[in-house]
Symmetry: C2
């Protein structure tokens, strides 16, 4: 099969079709999309070599699977099921996990992938492939609500109006709370407005502007200090940005203000599918461009331009 392989550089290569083991099934990829993590991976993040990509919709090919012939999306972490973290309800943190296209497991920028059957979720009939491909990043946005209680009476600042920031904003809209999205550039503010999300320039923030909850999704390590400066005492800061970087933090202000900082990663697929199915979240306008698989290297180049929203890959 054809696959995009990262090994110092990105190349489309002919590689063997993967063979499902044990509880795994073979899936033909229909659509995939490019995430910032993919863009980081090809800069060396996680030291990953192989086929990247983890956002996909596919069709189950394995005839013995209960999902045979069905259109599915798939959770990206493959846990062992037996360790302390798996047995205490934290399978996405399993120490011996592999992660689709990110860690110890080939990803979705290929004709076929294998995943454990238990990772799969059937795509509802009314969801197009282009929308279903947003299940994974939307689940990551919803994860915030699994982790902390956000009250409809609270005010929330979302820093970053990129792919993840805009999905997060769409989920916060459903909560009833007052939220402000802050972006660095005029063009991003305009892009958000086109999608019905009111965003403001970060530069319009004054020192006294503070929120009970801040979400850091700027993709920039300095975002944490910006967010802390606009958090009420005893407020909560959710960190979403993963970049392979350290940042200097004033620990004193965390103690004095009794701030709470919460890291947030992958989420559950079923709530995301429920919101997509009911069109309560509609990411249609977040699609910047769709490329055919043959042009996937161009798609990566396009996706890497600052301010680009979601880039989709059609695999057929």
């Amino acid at each position: 099969m054809k696959a995009l392989v990262f090994n110092e550089s990105l190349q489309i290569l002919e590689v063997p079709i993967p063979q499902p083991l044990n509880d795994e099934v073979l899936i033909r990829v229909l659509y995939s999309s490019i995430c910032n993590t993919d863009l980081e991976i090809i800069k060396g993040y996680m030291g990953f070599n192989g086929i990247p990509g983890h956002e996909f919709v596919g069709e189950v090919i394995t005839t013995s699977s209960r999902y045979f012939g069905k259109k599915v999306v798939g959770e990206i972490n493959c846990p062992c099921g037996n360790c302390y973290l798996c047995l205490t309800g934290r399978p996405t943190h399993c120490e011996s996990r592999s992660t689709l296209g990110i860690f110890k497991r080939n990803g979705v920028f290929a004709e076929y992938i294998v995943l454990p059957e238990s990772n799969l979720h059937v795509v509802p009939d009314n969801l197009s492939e282009e929308i279903a491909v947003f299940t994974e990043p939307l689940a990551a946005a919803i994860e915030i609500f699994e982790q902390i209680h956000i009250k409809p009476s609270q005010n929330v600042f979302i820093f970053g109006a990129g792919k993840l920031g805009l999905l997060i904003a769409q989920v916060f809209r459903l909560n009833g709370c007052v939220f402000n999205v802050f972006a660095r550039s005029e063009s991003t503010v305009k892009k958000a407005a086109d999608m019905g999300v009111y965003a403001r320039l970060i530069s319009t923030l004054s020192n006294s502007d503070k929120a009970e909850v801040c979400i850091e999704a700027t993709g920039d390590p300095s975002g944490i200090n910006l967010a802390l400066a606009h958090l009420h005492p005893r407020g909560k800061l959710v960190l979403k940005t993963t970049v392979a970087n350290c940042e200097k933090i004033d620990l004193n202000q965390i103690v004095i203000n009794e701030f709470e900082i919460i890291g947030s990663r992958c989420g559950l697929f079923e709530p995301a599918l429920r919101l997509l199915k009911q069109k309560l979240v509609d990411p249609q306008q977040m699609i910047a461009k769709t490329f055919n698989f043959d042009q996937i290297r161009d798609a990566f180049e396009f996706a890497a331009k600052p301010g680009t929203l979601k880039v989709l890959i059609r695999h057929y």
Copy 2:
């Protein structure tokens, strides 16, 4: 009256007796004690000039007070009562607060102080002055339990076996959880053992030693990275150390492991008085030495020696 005044250097000076305003009462200080914050203040922390000190037991002198003649301890934050933070249950974070001996308010290393009557708590009859002086730091230890739910089935690592770490350990003992106290030096491990607290050397930690809850009370900014390295995914790290320093933090690990970091400062006095009254926490063995007020400069020098536990000042 005589008072210890910090203004670039520490001096005992003759100053006017403070005059109570509005809701304040005059208190004669009986005992005080030296906290690490005091040691930081005389290095320039908080830019404080004036009379330091915030841990005390005193006797109310104002005849019109309902506490007249009573022995009291006092909460150290004096809030405005009217701002957003006061009205949303966060008076200790009031933006226009003063803090006894720390910020905009003279402290207890003097013959007399003034404090709002509403800050005071009567010392139970069976509590000695030497023990009651621990109310404020014990309240700060108990604050952890106001902030997060610690399950009796969890394992907890407490980093630091200094004054605060040992009080925290005594509170965790009451929870039923498994906790380990980690100290940097053999002498601190021995000192903790003398008090019935089993402590281990930090150097005995292996990479696989992890806890669901870590408490950082080392007094050293590098303690945060040590604690994060020994935290289970989705674990909670409570920061207690306040030193005027920044530290480089790997933000990526916080997101990937979905760590929660919680700053923790002052606590409520009533729970602390209840535990002291019932001798469920007994800080007697934490008293390193008691000085008379005339020797308070020597007391500061003694308290600054690494590993010194609580230094008390007798004011009469």
